[in-house]
Point group: C2
Chain length 493, copies 2
């Protein structure tokens, strides 16, 4: 089968020709999620151009250095919407040279469809193939569907290194706009509700570029004793919920953020004898594929297949085996609170810091410096059956406590955080008052070095706020962060 | 028609007899929402008992003084879940004598159904009638359905002053538990999806008490120049969205929190010539009924019909006229993000304070003192098509600025707040960076007395945080609140 249907072959051009379609000041939306299946050839050609400036970039969530790195370093991008994880972009965001506006992952495509933001001039999307039916995306969907739907012109990179078997894995579904928005009829993670392709009229296809280069595989971040213990603590908690009858024997689909804690949880679930589990998540990593092979997982709904080089090779080779076990969905569906709540997803996300009352900061170091963005954590946390946030109890060799009196920025409010887990233990915050939460978090989760300091803060706050609902001393609530800024550690002399 | 079906007449008893069913340490769940259709007779009898202590109370949202006042003053309630608005309860919560745990309104019934909290010993619910089919609730649903579904014993107050016409207005729908949770098939505010009654086996009915007393009608809080101007600003903003094609001519159902701003918005919509609008909300007030009469609204989906005495009388008299124009739903449906997002609800909620980056505090005075609770604002704000928060620019005769450098507590994070409105103007925060938001909020929304102070904070924060993504000086971020605590004003000497 041809990668490009005959009727569209006249659209094929070089990356350099395609890059010329983009003008200064354009708003560009690209495919790509967790640096998987973003367009590479056209951005590379674009980054060579000296005459393009002040472009706005809209991305589902995080693309590779060819876009978030090179286009930023070369001054082509001055405004950026959506999650990011590139170090040069992060620097530019925190230096104010790139204007960055963050948004819940499930909301970005909705906002694009509702056309509340900048009009999209050009979409650039990586595809496996383009047939008479439409575009078949690659290893991720992200907001590629919304980009194609809303852009004036669409540039397609058809990557011939992507296996054709990927074509059947996608499930594109257009929710539509209120008052005619549709029910999302997913009742199980493996329900297919749409089409594996997205339609596009020929007149909006500005160019098709044939490519062969895959992006670099994900880098495996090995776990350590701490992440392993966090994983065990989470699985012990889940087993307790099952034993108490609050979760079914096969606990509801799992969502897991990127990182080694998610891997540790999956591996501990496997070694605990769980079988036939499923994931309803925005990204699947190597460990998930391994557990699919072992039958620990029997289905994965995701928006991105984010694998290391070796595992990706295995996945490509055996793709026929995985066709019925993985669905790749657009962000508007993978992260939609409607589905997350209905399925009873158990969400596992990482906190940058938590406070003693259960508020979570996922994004801002010391309240000011943006890390990667909010991602899908809010989409999942508020809608999930059990919202678990984990973090090692300390960072920077103990100079930073991940449990603080008051978080310096709130992404997840106290009502969206059911359980906090560190390597020291679990704080189950459900149905608890702020004061009860403080006790649990300090005693079960904080690092022993910081427990007395946290207890002292709480006791003092009880006193100065006369025991009010949420005790605080506003003159000291953020003093730990200030000490870190001043002295490089949250510890006192 | 009998209020109580013959087969259940043997369950009829006095309020005093029913109150004896409750024992010390029991967990009690009651009907009632915004102090409407909560049980009154049995709580009154219970409050006389000297031998009952340490009970836990679960309420959808806010009940009258017979419960949240008297049972607290008499030491019967020591723990309380769900939104509240009684002054004595608020005092007890902030004195630590009643343990209070707050929760999103849409989540409380879900949590009750999932049995993650205390087992419910007794439910007490006000009903219009009890037939062979089941219970027909009164002027509100709230979490009454979850209370009936999960309580070991159910006490029913059948209020003979409630018009029988109310029976047809209800629509009870049990979402169920994952992995078998159901799609909520509402596509328009007036879609009926369930039954007007809730089934209950006779063996779980512990008693039926016949009553006649209605709760006191709502107190009308008259608007003033400030709330009127806020209403006008909101309507001007909505008209602008329609003109720009970002909202349809008939903008999506409206949710409006309790209070005079909601009234002002509805009245301004009416005087602007809008017709055929609808509400998908948790509470309807007097003005909504008037607009239903005028055809400005043609349908209201709510969880509570909260009217002043006169209007309630008119509503009761003309109830046949309203039967097809109002549906009373349980909180799990009225506030469900699935439906709110699908319908494209425009949400109007009140902020206690906003910060210059768009975070909103809805609950905690100076970060410590609980006011009423989070209510349904989070349910609506994150899922709505446009999430609007309004507040007068100052409080306490100007001693308090509602716009502050950093809110002292975050209920709505920056990503859940689309638009902030005061009497001075509108800040449309969608797709804006934190720095752009600060400019808009300071210039358009802050009171002129506080604008220079806010600008000074922002400029200073830009400097000390070297222009990072969200500029702050953590030593000063909460200093306005501390000054208020110390000096009684946020203003500087």
């Amino acid at each position: 089968m041809d990668r490009v249907t005959p009727s569209l072959k006249d659209k094929i051009m070089t990356a350099e020709q395609a890059a010329k379609i983009i003008k200064s000041g354009d708003t560009i939306a690209v495919s790509g999620f967790t640096s998987v299946s973003y367009p590479k050839a056209v951005p590379k050609a674009l980054s060579e151009r000296k005459d393009v400036k002040d472009c706005t970039l809209i991305v589902g969530a995080a693309v590779g250095d060819e876009i978030d790195g090179a286009l930023v370093r070369n001054g082509i991008i001055s405004k950026r919407f959506g999650h990011q994880s590139n170090k040069d972009l992060r620097k530019a965001v925190n230096a104010g040279t790139v204007q960055f506006s963050d948004v819940h992952i499930s909301c970005l495509p909705m906002n694009m469809n509702q056309k509340t933001g900048p009009a999209i001039d050009v979409a650039i999307v990586e595809c496996t193939a383009v047939t008479d039916k439409g575009l078949y995306f690659g290893l991720s969907e992200g907001t590629a569907d919304a980009a194609v739907r809303n852009a004036k012109k669409v540039i397609i990179e058809v990557n011939e290194s992507l296996p054709m078997g990927l074509m059947e894995m996608h499930d594109v579904f257009n929710v539509g706009l209120p008052p005619k928005a549709r029910i999302i009829p997913i009742k199980k993670p493996n329900d297919r509700i749409g089409h594996p392709y997205i339609k596009i009229p020929k007149r909006r296809i500005a160019g098709i570029v044939m490519t062969k280069d895959l992006e670099p595989g994900q880098k495996f971040k090995p776990g350590n004793d701490v992440t392993e213990q966090i994983g065990k603590n989470i699985v012990d908690f889940l087993k307790g919920e099952i034993a108490a009858g609050r979760l079914p024997e096969n606990p509801g689909p799992i969502q897991s953020g990127v990182g080694s804690v998610g891997n540790a949880v999956l591996e501990t679930l496997a070694s605990s004898g769980f079988k036939g589990l499923s994931m309803y998540t925005e990204v699947m990593q190597d460990s998930a594929l391994t557990l699919l092979d072992k039958g620990v997982l029997d289905f994965i709904s995701t928006s991105s297949v984010a694998l290391c080089d070796d595992t990706r090779e295995r996945f490509f080779k055996d793709i026929d085996k995985y066709k019925d076990k993985i669905i790749i969905r657009p962000n508007e569906i993978s992260n939609n609170p409607e589905v997350v709540r209905r399925l009873g997803v158990i969400s596992l996300n990482t906190a940058l810091e938590c406070d003693i009352y259960g508020n979570v900061n996922s994004t801002h170091v010391c309240g000011t410096k943006m890390m990667n963005g909010i991602g899908g954590s809010c989409d999942f946390a508020r809608a999930s059956r059990i919202s678990i946030f984990s973090t090692p109890s300390v960072a920077k060799n103990g100079a930073i406590s991940s449990i603080v009196p008051m978080v310096s920025h709130v992404d997840q409010c106290e009502h969206d955080v059911d359980v906090i887990v560190t390597e020291y233990g679990v704080a189950d915050l459900r149905w608890k008052t702020p004061k009860e939460r403080a006790k649990l978090i300090i005693e079960n989760c904080a690092h022993p070095d910081y427990r007395p300091m946290l207890q002292e803060y709480f006791d003092h706050a009880m006193e100065v706020s006369a025991g009010k609902h949420t005790p605080h001393d506003l003159t000291q609530a953020l003093s730990w962060h200030q000490r870190l800024l001043d002295n490089g550690t949250m510890k006192e002399d």
